[in-house]
Subunit: 249 residues, 2 copies
DNA sequence: AAGTGGTCTAGACCACGAC
DNA sequence: TCGTGGTCTAGACCACTTT
């Protein structure tokens, strides 16, 4: 067996054994979290990485291909391997499941209603699995599709990860790209819990609909690459002309 | 280049070129559709398949691993490669996203209300992208979780794929496994469109709730391995104690 | 033309499960 | 102990993109 920086006693015991290519995956992921390469940047080619890590090029390839599976990396033949960005068309829609009936997906605009630093309400604390005295930013937005309001959302962001939000007067429409570029927080996966509810007076006012109409309520928890919960949001969505799309494989 | 059964002129033109391992994937998938191996059966090992197809073992491996990605195959180290079944725990939950609030997933029971052969209504015809005179079986079911009715669903199955359903008095609870074993139709992926609606008098009666409560309405289209639409279903789900769960990566 | 990732092959060895 | 899939390496060649 060659001498490489991933050699360790565990490799021989079979107890906590991790295959080399998985160790490489973890290592590269960690380097990305530490911003050795930022989103959009190109990694060294397979042979250079292999030499640097003391493994074969084939092992590096398997690791890099694994990381494209989780959307952390993007590989382009003849060009190179890049840290994924939340900017390209595909990424932008990756976490936007609300579609106008009979249409193809389109990105909504967003109108910021407020951004305030508050003590987290109970449901938010529980979503984050955090301590009761947690401080969060509360972002209230209305989203606009087809020139009408379609979603009212409350977004909760932990103060500890988003300190620099304090005092901001406006936010970009594409929040996940903003998290990535400004806070080095890349949304890696989300869990949505979808319920139906009846429009309240507030819903009716904010979405220009009638009290009593049926709405979709979506509670989302978003995780970053390193597994932290970085966002909790509650979206109330018009359901007369819009739906939530899920494709399962 | 070796002489193998996948050699063809296209391989040299670069126009409709498909890598060998993809051709092997398609070939194996086709053999499964043709029932050379049925769900649950074991395939020959990598070397035998490689010899049979005239490619190297590494190429077969890449193809088989690709088919585990789409859940068509299951591989178990030390045991073999198997055609996936809709019976194991994981598969059973793969397409059941309705969860009781605060609980872990559990499989609902189903009560068959009716099974009739009808001329497909307009919305069903359009879901199948079919001709107006399409004949379908309409299955009406109530699903039971936590000892109460939680979902009322209408399921539409094309007569041409499901002839043998005619005259049946009862159906199993786990329909997708039933489709697979009785009709050689394996559900490969589903598209759900989720909306909110208000409970009608019929909903209220069938689900033992009140008129006017908010419900989730889920329209599902299910595709088989070879890409046919084999099922269209409309589910009306109680939303007071249940939600639809989506995990996106 | 140079440099990148993609494909294909070949062989050695390891880990796992069944017998 | 045997047969399976899993890992790791090595090298040749192909396809794509940029310069």
């Amino acid at each position: 067996m060659t001498n490489n920086r991933f050699d360790n006693k565990l490799s021989q015991t079979g107890l906590s054994f991790q295959p080399l290519y998985m160790q490489v995956e973890e290592h590269v992921k960690q380097l990305i979290v530490e911003q050795r390469w930022k989103p959009g940047e190109m990694l060294p080619n397979e042979f250079k990485l292999a030499e640097e890590l003391g493994v074969s090029q084939g092992t590096v390839r398997k690791a890099l291909n694994g990381l494209t599976g989780t959307k952390i990396l993007t590989r382009r033949q003849g060009v190179g391997t890049f840290v994924s960005e939340h900017t390209n068309q595909h990424s932008l829609y990756r976490f936007y499941p609300i579609i106008r009936d009979g249409k193809t997906p389109e990105l909504p605009k967003a109108e910021l209603l407020s951004l305030t630093l508050i003590k987290a309400p109970k449901n938010v604390v529980s979503a984050f699995g955090a301590k009761a005295n947690m401080k969060v930013f509360e972002v209230l937005r209305r989203r606009i599709l087809n020139n009408e309001f379609c979603i009212f959302e409350k977004i909760y962001l932990p103060y500890v990860y988003f300190r620099e939000l304090e005092g901001l007067e406006d936010l970009p429409h594409t929040l996940y790209h903003f998290y990535q570029t400004q806070f080095n927080l890349t949304v890696q996966d989300t869990t949505d819990r979808i319920k139906a509810d009846i429009a309240s007076a507030q819903d009716a006012k904010l979405l220009a609909i009638h009290i009593g109409e049926a709405l979709l309520e979506v509670e989302r928890i978003a995780h970053s690459i390193d597994g932290k919960i970085i966002e909790f949001r509650i979206s109330r969505c018009r359901s007369d002309k819009y739906h939530y799309l899920v494709e399962s494989k």
